[in-house]
Symmetry: C2
Subunit: 168 residues, 2 copies
DNA sequence: ACGAAATACTTTAGGCTTAAAATAATTCGG
DNA sequence: CCGAATTATTTTAAGCCTAAAGTATTTCGT
C-alpha cells in the first residue's frame, strides 16, 4: 500500500496505473477519431461523386424515411445531434429540391412538420442502397464474427460517455 | 464450437446472412459516429470555454510538440488527415498568435518549416493536461480493463478500412 | 539547357457547424 | 387577463472543411 502522498488523489490508483490509464484513454479516443474520419471522408466523397449529395442531407432523409407521417422539425436536431440553427438551411434546400415538405402545425404555429415527398423517398432509397454497399465494401476486411463484439463495446462506451455528461 | 472458419466468400452467403452482415456493418458505423460526435462535441465545448481555442488548432500544436526541430508544413495535412488548403488559415492564425513560426526552407523555396515557439509549447502543455483530464472524466465509467481490447478492435477496423481504400 | 511534369502551398467557392442573439407564438402565475 | 417565462425556429458571426483552380518552384527527360 502506498504511503499517503501530499494531495490525496481522487482515485486510489498509483501514479503508474493512472498514467497507463490516461494513455489508454487517449489511444481509444485517437483510434475512434481516426476510424470515423476515414470512413466519413470516403462516404462523403462518394455521396458527392455519385449523387451530388451531402451526408447531412442524407441523414435528414434517413430520419424522415422512418416516419410516414412526418416529424416535428424540432425532433431533427435531437436525433441528429446537431444544433437547431444548423438544420435551417439544410431543410430549406431539401424543400427547394422537392425532397421534403415543411408545413406549419395548426395546433401550434411555432411548430413545423417536415415530411418526405414521394420523390424524396425514391431518391433516398436509391442512395441508401449505395450507402449500404459502400459500407460493406469499406468494412469487408474486418472479420464478420467480430462485429457484434465491437458493437457491444461501442454501445457501452457511448453509455459511459452519456452518463459522464449527465452528471454535472 | 464452430469449426475453424474459412472466410466465407460473398457468393456463398445466403440472403439472410448477407442482410445480417449489412445490419451489423451499419450498426458499427452508427455507433462509431455517435461515440465520436459525443466526445468531440464535449471536447470542443471545453476547449472553447476554458481556453478560447479550437480542436484543429490544438491538433496542429500536438503534432508540433513532438518535433523539437519543427515539421515541414506539408506533413501536417497527412498526419491530421485534412486537406492542405484547410490548414493554411489555421497555421496563419497560430503564427499571428505567436504559438508557432513558419520559415521558408533554404533548400527548397516551395517548402516551409513550421515550429512551435516557447510560448506555444507552454500553452500547449497546459491545454494538453486539461485535455487528458477531460478525456479521463468522459471515459471514467468505461471499465478500464476493456480499453486494450477496444483499442485492438479499432486498430483492426482502421487497418481494414485502409486496406479497402487502397484497393481500387 | 529547356520545356514539361511534378511538388508545395494558397486561394476560392460552397457547404457544414456552433454559439449567441433575435423573432414569434404559447403557456403560466397571479 | 396580462405580463413574464418558455418554447420553436431563424439569423448572424465566426471558424472548419473540401475540391478545384491558381502560383511558384523544382525536377526530370531529352
Amino acid at each position: 500500500m502506498a504511503l499517503a502522498k501530499e494531495p490525496t488523489p481522487v482515485s486510489a490508483k498509483n501514479g503508474a496505473d493512472q498514467e497507463a490509464e490516461y494513455r489508454a484513454q487517449t489511444r481509444v479516443w485517437l483510434r475512434l477519431l481516426a476510424c470515423t474520419t476515414l470512413i466519413e471522408g470516403e462516404l462523403r466523397r462518394r455521396f458527392r461523386e455519385e449523387f451530388d449529395f451531402t451526408m447531412p442531407r442524407f441523414d435528414v432523409l434517413a430520419q424522415l424515411d422512418r416516419e410516414p407521417s412526418g416529424l416535428v422539425l424540432g425532433e431533427l436536431p435531437k436525433r441528429l445531434m446537431v444544433s437547431a440553427g444548423n438544420l435551417t438551411p439544410i431543410v430549406d434546400r431539401l424543400v427547394e429540391d422537392g425532397y421534403i415538405t415543411r408545413t406549419p402545425s395548426n395546433l401550434d404555429r411555432r411548430v413545423q412538420i417536415v415530411c418526405m415527398t414521394v420523390e424524396g423517398r425514391k431518391t433516398f432509397r436509391r442512395m441508401a442502397k449505395s450507402h449500404g454497399a459502400w459500407l460493406a465494401e469499406l468494412l469487408a476486411d474486418f472479420p464478420a464474427d467480430r462485429f457484434d463484439g465491437l458493437i457491444g463495446e461501442l454501445d457501452d462506451l457511448k453509455g459511459a460517455v452519456r452518463d459522464a455528461l449527465q452528471k454535472p
